[in-house]
Symmetry: D3
Subunit: 189 residues, 6 copies
Amino acid sequence: MWYYEKKLQYPVRVTECNPRLAKYLIEQYGGADGELSAALRYLNQRYTIPDKVVGLLNDIGTEEFAHLEMIATMIYKLTKDATPEQMEKAGLAAHYVNHDSALYYQNAAGAPWTASYIQAKGDPIADIYEDIAAEEKARATYQWIINVSDDPQLNDSLKFLREREIVHSQRFREAAQILIDEKDKKHFF
Amino acid sequence: MWYYEKKLQYPVRVTECNPRLAKYLIEQYGGADGELSAALRYLNQRYTIPDKVVGLLNDIGTEEFAHLEMIATMIYKLTKDATPEQMEKAGLAAHYVNHDSALYYQNAAGAPWTASYIQAKGDPIADIYEDIAAEEKARATYQWIINVSDDPQLNDSLKFLREREIVHSQRFREAAQILIDEKDKKHFF
Amino acid sequence: MWYYEKKLQYPVRVTECNPRLAKYLIEQYGGADGELSAALRYLNQRYTIPDKVVGLLNDIGTEEFAHLEMIATMIYKLTKDATPEQMEKAGLAAHYVNHDSALYYQNAAGAPWTASYIQAKGDPIADIYEDIAAEEKARATYQWIINVSDDPQLNDSLKFLREREIVHSQRFREAAQILIDEKDKKHFF
Amino acid sequence: MWYYEKKLQYPVRVTECNPRLAKYLIEQYGGADGELSAALRYLNQRYTIPDKVVGLLNDIGTEEFAHLEMIATMIYKLTKDATPEQMEKAGLAAHYVNHDSALYYQNAAGAPWTASYIQAKGDPIADIYEDIAAEEKARATYQWIINVSDDPQLNDSLKFLREREIVHSQRFREAAQILIDEKDKKHFF
Amino acid sequence: MWYYEKKLQYPVRVTECNPRLAKYLIEQYGGADGELSAALRYLNQRYTIPDKVVGLLNDIGTEEFAHLEMIATMIYKLTKDATPEQMEKAGLAAHYVNHDSALYYQNAAGAPWTASYIQAKGDPIADIYEDIAAEEKARATYQWIINVSDDPQLNDSLKFLREREIVHSQRFREAAQILIDEKDKKHFF
Amino acid sequence: MWYYEKKLQYPVRVTECNPRLAKYLIEQYGGADGELSAALRYLNQRYTIPDKVVGLLNDIGTEEFAHLEMIATMIYKLTKDATPEQMEKAGLAAHYVNHDSALYYQNAAGAPWTASYIQAKGDPIADIYEDIAAEEKARATYQWIINVSDDPQLNDSLKFLREREIVHSQRFREAAQILIDEKDKKHFF
């Protein structure tokens, strides 16, 4: 089980009310390769992955929830003072009439999050490559968002998160090697 | 952010390998009114709910993740020793060919979890009634599962969880009253 | 069964061709908390709710179809004379290339309506709280649309509809009390 | 707007509690080619179809709601006295743990109804062929259900409904001819 | 099985980088009535349609893949040189943060392609009317896109594709007549 | 564009009518990691992957369509002579009332195929790891199906297909190395 402490993994600062940027950041909140996908994917795979990798999935899965909270905080800070007119100008009126400025697990185009984005096969190699791919895709998403961001303070946090995905990808590659070395034959063909 | 401790909120015991029961329990893992829906709904609403209720949403949201972990543990224990034949006999062959015995966020009929199950309106009264309804629906789901369960040890844990939903429903009703009393006019009409 | 009479429950007037407003109104046509969700939810629950509440669900469900027709009429009037250029300027080009100016059951962001938005648990208290929450959420949606509307004539109809949701919410709260008083023990725990 | 009268378009009788048959009938309630799809499709197309066909869409759309009510009544009668054990034996345990014996807009495999099943193009010929195809598909679904049905009383009602789809298909073919004859050039190419 | 030859069915030329037009064209790539729907629908129906029509479905299904490739080439050419700023100005920033300028099977509003768009009933008449309707709907979509297109070179290719849909519709109508004449009674009622 | 030749990539033989096996095989037809996902994923990524890898994606994507055709042929052969009673006994009655014995792009649990299963990021490393993961997941699915299969002739074809996934995974790993060696800096961070 988890205990909550009222702090963020890494500080989140935004320069000003900026709903345009919030519209794109939501991709990392409820998009295909966002932090919700990451956290739920790893924690779900914990039960059937070989023992040597369970701790890694548990740690990274828990960290991804901390990232999800950082993203949520960013979006909230970027929109909390926005008027309906500002939301509309930022392309967020469709969000506003449904959710006001509340958060929602959807991607930047407004498609609700679905478990179809993630997978668990029960095969250790398949699952760990699913995870490596997930981290590479999350890294790319951060890059695309940074490319359209005009807030240097926010970018500092985004670069921290992008860096974490690169570290996770490396950790999962090491785990793949461990699994191969272990020759856990149960699921290998 | 959250810290993980390797223990369950409440002990989970299963009498024996029982994939039939796992098939129904998965409704509380990735179904419309399951623990994933609950956890994600409350933590997501935290940002725009009035301050007096934020702590409640945070506490219950965090607890629901602990419940999700309990449900996952139950399903894992009920299926980990099942042969493909036993999975098929329990109506889980469609699950098996896709996921082996790995967990997945779907309902008992195999529909993947979608954020369309939950809502956040930015209106405090609407959000808190969404939450009361959620707890009543989760309570009903636990009852229907208990009705088809033939494992008394498992039922002990399920009754604990059903009881928690009743407590949460009561807490959300009190929160509704707090919100009304506060006459936080910002969102009231 | 139902009989159709060619009139609206309440007059619908729009000041001028205004596809921008149509884009937001469609949230009440095919969105999560729109009139389609309401009508289908209540009429579906009729069969298993206790007898004392069946008539209420039937009446409100039927009325919600009348609301759906009002919303459809509004959207049609706001878009019927719009050129493709006007549709595009209003953010409706994605709608236009798929549907011309025909209506469609989707939300303002273009996500198609799904039954995942609504629920029926067979438990009377759970179902009636689902309904109260639904009315509160629909009320909020009307408010957010009114907030971005620049058509005072349309707002008159929208305020009528918002008012009806408040009445329905009150009626469902009374029904909840009736159900509790009845102590219909069949589904209560 | 619509007025409700407490009677069915055609009598519905079921021989006995038969959840197995209910499981298949639900395809016509919330499946791709079921009565909900039909009713919502035609009423939605009314606004942009040429005037000569509006009445037809309105009439058939309203009748399809009466059919939806007949299907709902059938399913309810077939399941209302079923025990959880009987539901499970009929393959309905996944339904039971989510909905007890309440109805839900989903197909026989448990996929929730989605507006993606239906279409409105704003082009009269395209829309009317969508409708002809819909009736042919509904007719086929009734046939497949009759083929697996073991309740002659229920089959009487199902055959009435299948016959209505054939009539509707014929009416829509006539409408297609009217549209072509009219040479309403606005949308024709 | 299929063999690939590196050429397009019909030449595709675009006048200039034009992400605005790409945004609308994507409707024919991954939208409800787009080329992916067409190709997958016909090739899937091949197995259970009467023999006399199998070849037609096979030919048209294979041709629709060639159309899909043409649409993909158009979208690629219209966006490959676009900066993130140009993508955003064209309403494609939500696409950019998820996919950069990669293609994706979604409609113009960003809803991912789903098999719910298409159907196969096993009833020859129902299936062939599904196909006629599909061609009429695809024709309409091409018209709506041409209506908003400002690229005469691209329109040349779009008009070729629109014309092919008209031809296919005619071929399917002939097939319907063949099926009726054949009086293949197995599935007819 | 593609040319069709009326032959299969590898012979498909089934021992007897076996709808039970068809029910599980459909996972490879329209499931998350099935052949449709594979073919559509690779052909879609062709446009934005670096030139050195385009041919590989094109070849494997085209081959996956040949695999899709093999799977379709298997399912058809296993079900074409099945009575409705046999379909029901095999757990396929929900399929039958919707599709008779026609094929459909859905997974073994009846969830329709969705593009949410696949991804294209525009980042070469992310895309190629998506592809490696896809092949590993497809390999696992083949294994789970072989584990429940009781038809040795069919298993011969399934083992051929499983082997092809292993080869594809290896090819994609080589492609990943090529991309890294190339130091195509455009998308690398």
